[in-house]
Amino acid sequence: MKEELIIAGFGGQGVLSMGKILAYSGVMQGFEVSWMPSYGPEMRGGTANVTVIISDGPVSSPIVHQYDTAIILNQQSLNKFEERVKPGGRLIYDPNGIIHPPHRSDIDIYAIDATAEAAREGNLRVFNTMILGGYLKVRPVVTIENAMRGLEKSLPERLHHTLPANEQALKKGMELIRKEN
Amino acid sequence: MAQFEVEIKPENLVYGKSPVLTDAPMHFCPGCSHGTIHKIIAEAIDELGLQERAIGLSPVGCSVLAYNYIDIDWVQAAHGRAAAAASAMKRLNPDRLVFTYQGDGDLAAIGTGETIHACNRGENITIIYVNNAIYGMTGGQMAPTTLVGMKTMTTPDGRDPKLHGYPFVVSDMLAHLPGVCYVTRQSVHTAANVRRAKKAIRKAFENSMEGKGLSFVEMVATCNSGWKMSPTAANQWMEENMFPVYPLGDIKG
């Protein structure tokens, strides 16, 4: 098993933490993982992305040019990374703020209205956990139990009281995700 | 002619060389203040019983070889960086006496940043700052502390403030920093001044051992070679010209 994935969006959307939760979940499942962020001024409000690789063998290059999965949270990232999904791979995006939706027919395209749903529930903070849930629904690289353990490892202890809300969001995301093509 | 029989016995001794001074002949020019300052540092270390716990830092400049003369452990620091090195030494060895010995070129030009920040952190070290208003070792060039109008190898017509700025008065500036517990300005050109200067060094060392913060002892000094004067003329020139700009006495603490 090897999954090479990029999560990309605005800085502040929790792109890097979502990647960290996923990487830690991979560790909990006994996989080798790598997490390689974009860093620098990009972190301060611009676009941010993180490459996560989860593998049952050692990870050779933490840098890849093409991805099995792209999780896209803004238009700029969609423009940049849609072409870099491997044929037969998948692209998951949140339609919030997307004017030009993805167009490729040789990959699976999924939409997940996580921003809208999180806003409706009045807890925008869990929107990225919903996305993660949606991803795990269509690409179950780790079990929900290990995803929760990954979440617990990633969150600082002062935020552990949010774990139940995050578990709810994970499950909500699994319901929300829908295939578009 | 009268003959005097002199018997050297401990009870007859009124003065002796400090046991914290080595027997190495000093390389300093005759009349230079460094030798006297070295001597009183050695005496202060001896009187405080700190010979086995003292670590000195020598600078780049005439006093780079201070370690040849004072019989303690020494570290020779890069030009201007003694205060940074001393900060780490003291933090890693809090029960040791850590002091730097630096000239005005070393401390007030290239090492200004390290000096101010060590002072501002309130490191429990002593800085002994020898200010003779000139670069001695490199052959008498202008220092930050060179007086207005004073001739040096790089100010052949005298220091012009329009060109070179003004004499840098370090001690008064450092006294404003809360991390600094003691600032004093001394000299060693008379016996009375030597006694006062030694007292100041003792007080500074005691402060360092008691963890009171940074102690800063400025020594206004002569460089008769660099100034191109006889030792006595240099002493007189210092009184008349240096002391108005760098007045002696305690500034803080």
Partner: protein, 363 residues
């Protein structure tokens, strides 16, 4: 107890420092390595092991704090990134000249000048050939994983005390910023003052404990004959290091026609390239120097007797490649490929370069 954590390379350096008994860290923030100082400050090791952590006012001050701490026989370190390492050059020369132990981590970025904060491997010359003025070498270790960031920090302390010579861990923004699984070793206590007296008492400025003869830590020697003799002493030390401390890894070089030569993050990227090439039937191996000084040149010389070509892959305009050429000799081509200025080559780009520069030309 052994512990598995997901850590950034920078965090791994900080955790290793605490757990290997480091006495003091002195550093100044600079991207992409600030997490080392940040992690140490959040871990507060002064409350557990007694380790001193101090944010200096500049890299210049930091390396001189390291110099002061090392002069007292303590296990001290600093870290920085390229422009900051340039500021430390003078201090590194002093440390080598005074034969003091210290560990310096360079999480390098693109240059010259202020350059970029993105990863690069363009400090090879600086680390390996010219860490500062005067005749000296640093031992240079090049980690290629977060685990190695952890392991090499400890190894660097062992080596620096073995040879009383500065050791640099040369990483880059990729290794510093990425997270991987790390197995943390059990913590070792700091060396106590009595042991320092026993092990470093012949040179360290600790105060003349018990009235022992005084120690003077210095790099000044105004007599050319004595200084020359000292340079020969250093040269003999470097000869021992070159004899005993060469470290490297080879991957599938046994039957290789072409060998990729890369260190650090480029070595990771090249492992993928090697897999891609093998899948297409090309016999490609990878040679990864772990010590950049001492350089494992003998291995390249031996490989040069039977391979058809080398490709040095580094995020620079070509520095490592000069050493590869030196050891490969005239009969075997040693080409270079690398993105630079903060750009990171992808495995595809390296593979294309391997094909166009070597495979398609020679076959």
């Amino acid at each position: 107890m052994k512990e598995i954590k997901l850590l950034k390379g920078n965090e791994a350096v900080a955790m290793a420092a605490i757990r290997c008994g480091c006495d003091g860290y002195f550093g100044y923030p600079i991207t992409p390595q600030s997490e080392i100082l940040e992690t140490l400050m959040s871990q507060k090791p002064w409350e557990t092991t007694g380790m001193v952590v101090l944010q200096a006012e500049s890299e210049t001050a930091a390396i001189n704090m390291v110099y002061g701490g090392a002069a007292t026989g303590k296990r001290v370190m600093t870290s920085s990134s390229s422009p900051g390492i340039s500021l430390m050059s003078e201090g590194l020369s002093y440390l080598a000249g005074a034969e003091l132990p210290c560990v310096v981590v360079n999480v390098s970025r693109g240059g010259p000048g202020l350059g970029t904060i993105q990863p690069a491997q363009s400090d090879y010359f600086q680390a390996v050939k010219a860490g500062g003025h005067g005749d000296f070498h640093m031992i240079v270790l090049a980690p290629a994983s977060v685990q190695e960031m952890y392991d090499f920090t400890q190894l660097a302390f062992d080596l620096t005390f073995k040879y009383l010579n500065p050791v640099m861990v040369l990483a880059d923004g990729v290794i510093g910023q990425m997270m991987e699984k790390v197995e943390l070793s059990e913590g070792k206590p700091r060396v106590d003052d009595e042991s320092i007296q026993r092990e470093c008492g012949s040179w360290a400025a600790t105060g003349r404990v018990g009235g022992r003869p005084r120690n003077i830590v210095t790099s000044v020697e105004l007599d050319p004959d004595i200084q020359e003799a000292f340079n020969h002493i250093l040269a003999a030390k470097y000869a021992r290091i070159e004899q005993d401390e060469v470290r490297y890894e080879t991957f599938e070089c046994e039957d290789a026609d072409f060998v990729l030569v890369a260190y650090g993050s480029s070595a990771r990227i090249c492992r993928r390239v090697m897999e891609m090439a093998r899948e297409e039937g090309f016999k490609v191996g990878l040679f990864r120097p772990i010590t950049l000084y001492p350089f494992p040149g003998d291995v390249i010389a031996r490989l040069a007797e039977r391979v058809k070509g080398f490709l040095a892959v580094e995020m620079s305009m070509g520095q490592l490649v000069e050493d590869v050429r030196l050891w490969a000799g005239r009969n075997v081509p040693a080409e270079h490929y690398g993105r630079c200025g903060g750009a990171i080559h992808s495995p595809d780009e390296v593979y294309n370069a391997l094909k166009s520069k070597l495979i398609d030309k020679i076959k």
